[in-house]
Each structure stands twice: as C-alpha cells, then as structure tokens.
Subunit: 316 residues, 3 copies
C-alpha cells in the first residue's frame, strides 16, 4: 500500500496518529505552509509492516510502528532496509526523519531471540549480516537523517539514533541507555564508536559500564543528543529544521556529510569488529544465562522494560 | 601611522572608541595596573586601514574596524596578514586579542564579490591563495590568540574565531553561524575541520546543514566557544586572562600549543581541500544563482544581515 | 598491616574517618545492602603508608591519606604502584575507587623537590621512570577506576583523575587546575593528551595556558569530569555506581575498556614525550627560578596552596 517514493499516507491502522503534534499539522513560524496529504491515495511497490511513512516535499517522515514495543527484529530491519533503499533512489528526497508511533518506546533494543534472522535482513542492504553496517550505511547516505526521539532508545535503539545525523529528544519522555555490559556483551551496533567520540573517554565509559538509564537532559549535557526539547515543541522544531535543510542544494548537503564523516565516522572495520564481538559474546554461556535471568524478570515485555535500568542492575 | 611593534594608538578616527569597556581602561582585580597609552605617538612601518591596534605590555589588542560591516575582503585580509607578520616578529609579544569596533558585526563573512582578490592577499602570508591556510597559520603561531566576540561571526567570521586559541562571547549580542550550505557551498576556511572536532558529528552537522543562527549560550553548550559571558564583564575577563597568560614563560606557551595542535588541529591538506571545495562550489551556477537571490534580499548590507539566518532560509 | 587483597580495614590512625558519608555506611536505594567489615582483622603482605584501603565485595576503596596535603611524592607513588599490582592480581576485584582522606586536597601536584625519586618508584610498575606511564597503566587496566573528588586536584593530581575511567566531584569543594605553564613547564603526566581530547582545542588551551583554578561546575561544563554532585550525595552516588558495575561480568567490562581506549587513549609514545618535556623543562633555569619564586610564596605548604591559582599568577 504505502511506498516511500510517492505516498503521502501510510498504513491506515495508524491514521489516527496522523494529527498529533509530531504529525502533519500545519507548520508555524518561518517554515512555509506545507500541503496536507492526509487523504492522498497510497500506491507503490513496497508495503511496510512496521513503518508509517509520509512524504512532504523533500522530507520523508518514517514513524516506527511495530507493536507491542518496537523491538528491532527481522520485520523492522527488513522495512528499514527497504525504506533506505527506496529513499536513496528517490532523487526528490533530501531529508529523512525518524519518529516513533509509540510514546514510550522509540526502539528499545534488538530482539535477542532473533539475532540471526534480523542480521540476515540487514545483509540485504550492505552484503554483511550486521546491523552495525546497516546503521553506518545510513550515516554515509547522501540523505540527511534526523531522529525525533520520544520514549526509550536503548542498546541498538541508541545505536540507531547515533547513526542518524542529528538527534532531538523530548525532555519529558526520552530515555537513553547502552546496557549491554549488564548482559556480559558489548554494544555491537556502533554505540562504542559513536559514544567514545561524542562523549569522550570518561562519559562513554560511564554510560556503557553502568548500563544505566539517562534522561534527555543528561543525554544533552553529555553530547549523546543534539538537544533536549519540551515534548510539545519537539515535533514543530524538527519539522521546521527538516524543511529548512530540504531547501538547500543537495550537492552541498552531501559534500558536507562526506567531509564531516571523514573526520568523525569510524571506519567500517571498527563497526564490523564491534558487531562480531557482540555476536560472539551473545553466544557465550554467561551472556545466555543473563538473558535468561532477564527474561524471567520480564525482558522484552512492555511494562517491565519501562524501568530496564533497574532490571539489568538486578541480573545474576 | 600605526604599527604592531611599537604603537599604542591607532587610526585617530577610532580614538573615540578607546575608552570603552573593551579598551584600555585600568584593569581591576588581580591584573596589575597597566599603563595608559592613549596619547602615545604612533610610529612605524605599516598603517592599518581596517584594524585598530593597541599594545599593552606583551598583549596586543587588534580591533576590527572595517565599516560598514567588517566584511572579510582584500583590505582586511591584507591588514591581518601584516598584523600577524609584525606580531610574530615582535619578541616582546605573547598574546594577541581580536575584538571588533562594531558592536553588531565582528566578521560577518567574506566579500563574495572579491574572492580572488582576498585570496591573493592571504597568499602573502602562506604562499597559498586561501584564507583557510591563513587561519591555520594563526592556529600554529607561537602567539596565543583570543577572540573577544560581540556581534555576528558567520561563515569565515566563525572560521576566523575558530582558528583562534580561545573564544569568549557576549551573551547578549554574539551570533554564530556557518551558513554556506544555504548557498550551495561548503565552509572553506576550516569550519568543517574545527566544528567536527569540537562539536562532534551530530552538532557539527546540525550547525552546518541548518545554516542557522546560534546565540552565545547555545554556542557555549555546543562547544563552539569557550564561554558566553555578560557583555559588561567580557572585556575585563579577556583582559585579565590575556595579561595573566602574558606573564608566563613564552617557551612553555609555545610548547603547549604545539602539543595540543598535534592532537586537535587538522592537517594542512584537509584545510586546503575544504578551501578548494569552497572555491569550486562558489563558481557553479547553482551557487551563483543563490548568491544573486541573496543580494536581492540585501546580502552584504548591514540591516538585512542582522537576521541572516532567516534570509538564507528564504533563498531559492 | 593492611593489604589490598583481603583486608577490610586499614591503618588504624584513619579508623575515625570510616563512618563518613564516603565510607562504608549502608547503601541506600537500588544498591544491595553491603556487609560491614569495619572490624575485620587486617592481614597481608603489604602495608600502605599513604593509602587507606577497604574492600567491599568486588569494589576496593583507596583513600589517599598522605599528610600534610597529599603531595604526590615517592611514598604515595610507591603505594599506588603496590595497590595497582595487588588489585590487578586479585581476581575478585572489578572496581577501584579513589578518594581522599583530606577534604581540602585530593592530590595537589607532585613534590617538585623529589621528581627523580618518585619517578623511580613509578618505574617499578612499568619499567619506565615516568608517572605518565603509571597513570596510563591504570587507564588500560582491566579494573574499572572511579575518582571521587573532594578538594584540590591540580597538575599531576588532575592527571591522576584524568587517567581514571570516571570522575565525579563535589560541587562545593573540588578545584581543578593544570598550572604547569605558570612555572615554565608543560603537563607531563598525560594532562595534555586527555584534556585536548575531552575538552577540545580551545578549552584545553584555555585551561593549560591560563594555569587557573576551575570549580567543579565549570569542570563539568568543559568535560574535565563526568559530573559535579552535591558533596553530601557524592559518596553514595559513587558507591552505588561502583557496586552496580561490579555486578556485571568482568569480561565485558574489560572488553569495553579496550574498545573505548582504542579510540580515546593516546599512544604510549605521546605520554612518554610529554613526560620527557616536563622533565627537561623542570631542569631549565627559568623553571627553577619560578619554582623558587613559588616556594617563597608558600608553594607546597597547605594554607598558601588553597589559592594556588592566584599564587601562580603572581610568579616572576
């Protein structure tokens, strides 16, 4: 039904969300008024199970909508791969905004029961069975990517937004964590690479060794995100920024990304190495035992994960 | 009339500014009282058209005074080259403080109608027709440089202060931008190199992709400047800092700069590459068209540029 | 009397400090209650003159207690070397917390009259007569290290806490400085390497060129420390964090440190070069004269050093 390239509406199940602050309401302020396409007829070559997609001029909004809690499993990875491929093929597009249809969860982490499966989906983008390389593909894309974060981004969720070019988060609801160490593994999706460079040695170590939850204000002070904003301003802020950037010549946007990436983005081999370390670690008995301990406490279910920072502190 | 090496006063047209808070008033606090040289007789080998220069012990103050708005054109580049050469040749000098005689503009950006001409002036310092390399020369100088920022520093203005060793800005008046992307070009004076390292990938991309205006408080939070200070404290703060540093042995100051530069300053070839990309970009038709669109809106004139962040968002 | 590996109490002279907020009081909040070992019998192979050591599960607390002001001289270096060796040999240990028994001084700096002697003690850890390499050894240790900072950390004191994996400081009392430039030398214990990477070029230069004192809030804003906390919350915060990390599998903690160090920790040769520059600088006549000038003003005595930032600004 919905495609990236020519669709203005999305999965009708989600239509009731389209009038929220983060949705296609009329822009205020300096942004030009944008056409409303709520009733545009969907058509195209690819249906998304887990993404709600809307195109506004040169900006594509992709809302993650994979109930019950937006776990990064095979379906979501498959859709992200398709979305990225279609968006990159659409020469009209310049900016890609990722949001969540779930106010409590942006992406909580991967589905640890389906590591092999989602990795195979990721391989369709880069040829390698690793979400680290899928995320890095996004970082080097000619498309400008913005993460508009409400709810929890932990583990691979954090790594996904770290792969985006910019991150703005709702002060009241966004929660950040890189909790792999509590399970006896290390972040495998690029989190080490990005956090070490953005936060510096001491704060990156704190965040990853503690496996703790960080709110948006602290995440801003540490440089994990660009800025924390009040939830009721976040949508309009991101929308204004996305449409502003989308007015500028595509060539200079891409060149700027290239030049900044040359300085700040880790080489492929470092992403690959972290990905391998995660994969190996997740198979060892100590990690398996910790995952089981976590499942007993409600891991990968919605309510217990609201306070995952506490849950992982109790593992044994 | 005025020279760097032995002059205490400068262009008499600017004498009326010499009693301001940023000028040679008696220092309060721990700084030793400094001699007043307001009436000292100017003499020397080089007259500055666009700089108002004052020497106080081992500290040289250079106020940018190039009406109507301190555009970085051939005259200002020529004077900066001479200033740097004379200051480096003066073994009594240790610290160079850059300020502006215009409360609204520090350096707004280059004169885009005279790119070839100002580049030729820059070549007199480094042998290469690039302000990026002139700015980098300042970063590796044995002299400690401090930018005391009031008013607008955009594009090459931002890159100039980024080349200084430290940057302190007036909370009420300083405005920062790296707006090249709006014109279809990329920052060519080292902005990419410095911002990517100082702000990290996401904030550097935000700043340069958005082409927006940033106030001093946000610039401080992002690491663009050392600190934002109240305008009425800024002059004394910088003066106290400059004279404190000027008391320390020159050798350790220079060695410290060398060691920090070895870690933080990009290689010459990266500055040169950015400079070339800017030069090539500025000649392409899309950029030319955007510059014309900007000129129609008052680009390079004083009042319209007060809100350049808005102006560049309206280009087409 | 006291050893690292099996002792719960330490030098009995310090027993009266053991009930402070930073000591072994019962943890509140999410941390599991910990056994109290105040009366455990000390035993072992190594007595510490200058460290007060307490083990709680997998966490070792080492309080620096070298009156009159915790100068880093041969005795403290000797004890730190022994502590590190014993702690690394104790497979039960995962986290090492450094604190001070003196509320005004954590480590003020080295004893400049005994450079050769303390360097020889440091050589017992790394084979090289340099505290820079001793500090770097700590950074690459499998042990997670946390500095809980009250009082002054200047020069090598700052460099010691920079070598730790994390730094939390009391907002009311912690003071930071890297004042070597005032003496005509450069930081030789890794301060240049860490500050340039953590603070960025401009703030690192400001801190080291100014030789000034920085309070905990500004140190946090600059990235010198992880966070400033109220003094009355600091001990419990660090205790909770240390015991949380200590629950996680040792292998992933060590791998995380390795991966982050690969990105953020300077190579051995850069630490060695800075150490050599400091050693050479300290022997030259200008530095010797400045040290003498400082001694006349009370350098290396307790009261005058409370305001060392001012003292070094008056040297000649």
């Amino acid at each position: 039904m919905a495609t990236v390239s020519d669709t203005e509406d999305i999965d009708p199940r989600h239509r009731d969300l389209s009038g929220t602050a983060a949705g296609p309401v009329a822009a205020s302020g300096p942004t030009s008024p944008l056409p409303s396409h709520v009733n545009a007829a969907p058509a195209g070559d690819r249906v998304f199970e887990t993404l709600k997609v809307r195109k506004e001029g040169a900006v594509l909004y992709a809302d993650i909508a994979s109930p019950p809690m937006n776990l990064l499993g095979p379906a979501l990875v498959r859709d992200l791969v398709s979305l990225i491929q279609q968006a990159e093929a659409d020469n009209d597009l310049k900016v890609l905004v990722f949001r969540s249809a779930d106010p409590d969860y942006f992406i909580p982490h991967v589905d640890v029961n389906r590591i092999q499966q989602y990795r195979e989906e990721a391989a369709k983008l880069t040829g390698e069975a690793s979400i680290a390389l899928m995320f890095r593909h996004l970082s080097v894309s000619r498309l400008v990517t913005i993460a508009q974060i409400e709810g929890r981004v932990r583990a691979a969720g954090s790594e996904f937004v770290l792969a985006c070019d910019m991150r703005f988060a709702a002060r009241e609801s966004a929660i950040f964590a890189q909790p792999e160490a509590a399970f006896g593994v290390v972040p495998g999706g690029g989190g080490i690479q990005h956090l070490a460079r953005l936060l510096g040695r001491a704060r990156a170590l704190e965040v990853m060794l503690s496996a703790g939850d960080y709110d948006a204000d602290l995440a801003e002070r540490y440089g994990w995100i660009n800025r924390a904003l009040p939830a009721n301003e976040l949508g309009e802020f991101v929308r204004g920024l996305a449409h502003r950037i989308a007015k500028f010549p595509a060539g200079s946007l891409a060149t700027l990304k290239d030049r900044v990436n040359a300085i700040t983005l880790a080489p492929v081999e470092d992403f690959r190495r972290d990905s391998d370390l995660f994969g190996e670690g997740a198979r060892n008995p100590e990690a398996q035992s910790r995952f089981q301990s976590a499942f007993k406490r409600g891991f990968q279910t919605r309510d217990p994960e609201m306070d995952l920072g506490r849950l992982v502190g109790d593992l044994d």
